[in-house]
Amino acid sequence: MFVIGIDIGSLATKAVLLNGKREITGYIVSLTGPDSNKAGQMAIDRLIKDAGIHPEQIAYILSTGYGRENISISNGQLTEITCHARGAVYIDPGVRTVIDIGGQDSKAISLNDCGDVIKFAMNDKCAAGTGRFLEVMARALEIDLQDMGELSLKSKQRVEVSSMCTVFAETEVISLISRSIDKIDIVAAIHRAIASRTGNMIENVGVKSRVMMTGGVAKNIGVVHALEERLDCKISVPQEPQIVGALGAAMFAVDRATDEDDKGSIE
């Protein structure tokens, strides 16, 4: 028996294939594009094909993310809050705070000792401090998005980007460039600005160790360091932070496929 958890975000679609023993047997990260149903279907088809199994062997598909209700072959859906929490606890049962920063939103999730969500907060309608914000800044700086994290660690001079409005921050960045400020220092300032804004939201739910960061922005080591500094705590990042929501969805899919509540391994 296999199950699939699929997380359809605003920028990326992530899917995880689990076997009946809750072992990851495959995963995929692809762009969502304008048609989330199509993106979800394509990701699932690819996952099944790469695993060399038949669609009939899939006992349950559980969707999450903003596109969770748009995917026609889903058997059920849960929010990304619940799924990120479950995925994070599966990776590290000692996690008590999850910070997830995705393409267009950010969340802070507080967990109890059973790993269940007790409190959460999300950003408001503004995409400031998210992956989209970093994309715009990378474009303004004419550097690769993937390089921003490592670059910022080399910063020697502290400068400030004060605005967190994506449009105003871009203007501020252009102004810093025109003043011949080193791009490395500007990138570090952008990361601190994200940490400042997101840190307030995280503190609203309470920071309890251990803290894990998930979502695409967790791949940016500069943002992770800035958040560690802002929150004064150590933050762990799983090997593939983007698939944590899909992994959590897949865990729930196993529960539902077997109609069991104990969340343990099944044969």
């Binding site: 929010t79 269940d116 969500v117 408001d124 309608k125």
Partner: protein
């Protein structure tokens, strides 16, 4: 229940739409009918207007009416083109749009919206600073007289009593102002009769609210939101009493037959702050789909004479009106008093969680959501969630974000229930 719907709507509320249409038609034709027309802001004493046969538009109610109509975008565009920032109260922006159309004599360019006539005078209750500013502005704009009732932000029983007397004195002055303006002698006996109906309606209304303490809840807060139409437009009229009696009969039948407001009640929720008027229908379905029903709300359970209506004394109507207005001022000013009230509703209605609605352009009502969640969480272990919205402006609202938050909150409640069952 309509096909595919999880909501079992109260039938009596279907009477509301024609009542509201008739109400605004009366405001549209006020001058042709030889009546005076007031524009009012905040919790002003409608009963006094009614006793003097004055027709009255009420900014918040009219804003709620406009918010549910397609023409609202045009009205906001007009006010914003006139310099109203979109951070200003969205009720005020909508009504400013109406005022501009009136000024231009252009009453047909916004289809689907019934435009009330320009006022003969304006009256405000200075509970919200913005409302008082809008009052000042509209007075100048229409070049009409105005009367603004001042209020004290009370924080104790003693200050409440002091405010009550302060407001009562001003109501006496308002009556003199209206007598001068309309050249009509105020009829105290008529106001006494009106207050007798106000009292009777409020008592029946509270009986309806009490019936919702049962599980499954026979009626949701969304039905109550709709019923605020007659609670406002028919206040002090016999028809209002009759509406609530019909509602009580239907709700009581549901209780007797175990019929709930939604298909499968699993969670009972509390709603804090104003409704999102343009999302009432959608949100009721969203919550119902996840087994959640709103059973109590600050807006429906703490205002409109719902606080101790048995104490209304029709023989002393001005004191009773002043008491209601002073009560509203107390709740608006004192977050600890508000928290006590929220706690009472949560305990009375067996609430599982709180939805705190933070309204972008109504900041005076928005200062204490996080404190209330914190205090109630510590006292009762009941969690809460804040959602970002606006009473009438869709520009400050996102379906996807709000519905994700609500669903995630309900998933959290589900987990709470599992621990409780396990322990």
């Amino acid at each position: 229940m309509t096909a595919g719907s999880y909501v079992n709507r109260i039938n009596t509320t279907r009477e509301v739409k024609p009542v509201i249409a008739g109400w605004y038609e009366e405001l549209r034709t006020a001058h042709a009918d030889g009546k005076f027309l007031a524009w009012s802001y905040g919790p002003v004493p409608f009963e006094i207007f009614r006793a003097m046969d004055i027709r009255f538009e009420h900014l918040e109610s009219y804003g709620a009416y406009l918010a549910a109509r397609a023409g609202q975008e045009k009205l906001k565009q007009l006010s914003e083109s006139d310099g109203y920032s979109n951070d200003i109260c969205s009720y005020a922006r909508l009504v400013r749009g109406v005022a501009m159309l009136n000024e231009r004599g252009d009453k047909s360019s916004v289809p689907g919206v019934l435009l009330v006539e320009s006022p003969d005078f304006v009256v405000a209750f200075r509970q919200c600073p913005l409302m008082a500013t809008v009052y000042d502005y509209q007075k100048r704009l229409f070049n009409v007289p105005g009367f603004c009732i001042d209020t004290i932000p009370a924080h104790s029983e003693a200050e409440f009593q002091e405010n009550l007397l302060y407001i009562r004195r001003q109501l006496e002055e308002l009556i003199v102002f209206l007598e001068d303006l309309t050249k009509t002698k105020f009829d105290l006996d008529r106001l006494r009769q009106i207050m007798a109906y106000v009292k009777e309606a409020a008592i029946v209304r509270n009986l309806v609210l009490d019936l919702c303490k049962t599980s499954p809840a026979p009626m949701s807060v969304f039905d109550h939101f709709i019923s605020l139409g007659p609670a406002h437009s028919q206040r002090g009229k016999k028809e209002s009493v009759e509406y609530w009696k019909r509602l009580e009969t239907e709700v009581k039948q549901r209780v007797d037959n175990g019929i709930g407001a939604i298909k499968n009640e699993k969670f009972r929720l509390y709603w804090h702050n104003l409704p999102i008027w343009f999302k009432v229908g959608r949100l009721s379905e969203v919550l119902a789909r996840h087994g959640a029903v709103l059973v109590a709300a600050s807006y429906t359970h703490e205002l409109f004479y719902s606080h101790e209506p048995e104490k209304i004394d029709p023989e002393d109507p001005l004191t009773s009106i002043a008491a209601e207005e002073a009560w509203q001022s107390w709740l608006a000013a004192d977050s600890l008093r508000t928290t006590e009230q929220v706690q009472k509703e949560i305990e009375d209605y067996s609430i599982d969680g709180m939805i705190m609605c933070s309204h972008r352009t109504c900041q005076p009502a928005d200062i204490c959501e996080y404190d209330i969640i914190d205090i109630i969480g510590r006292r009762l272990g009941i969690p809460g969630i804040v959602i970002d919205a606006d009473p009438t402006d869709p520009a400050f609202y996102s379906d996807a974000q709000t519905e994700t938050r609500l669903q995630a909150f309900i998933e959290t409640l589900e987990a709470h229930k599992k621990w409780a069952a396990a322990s």
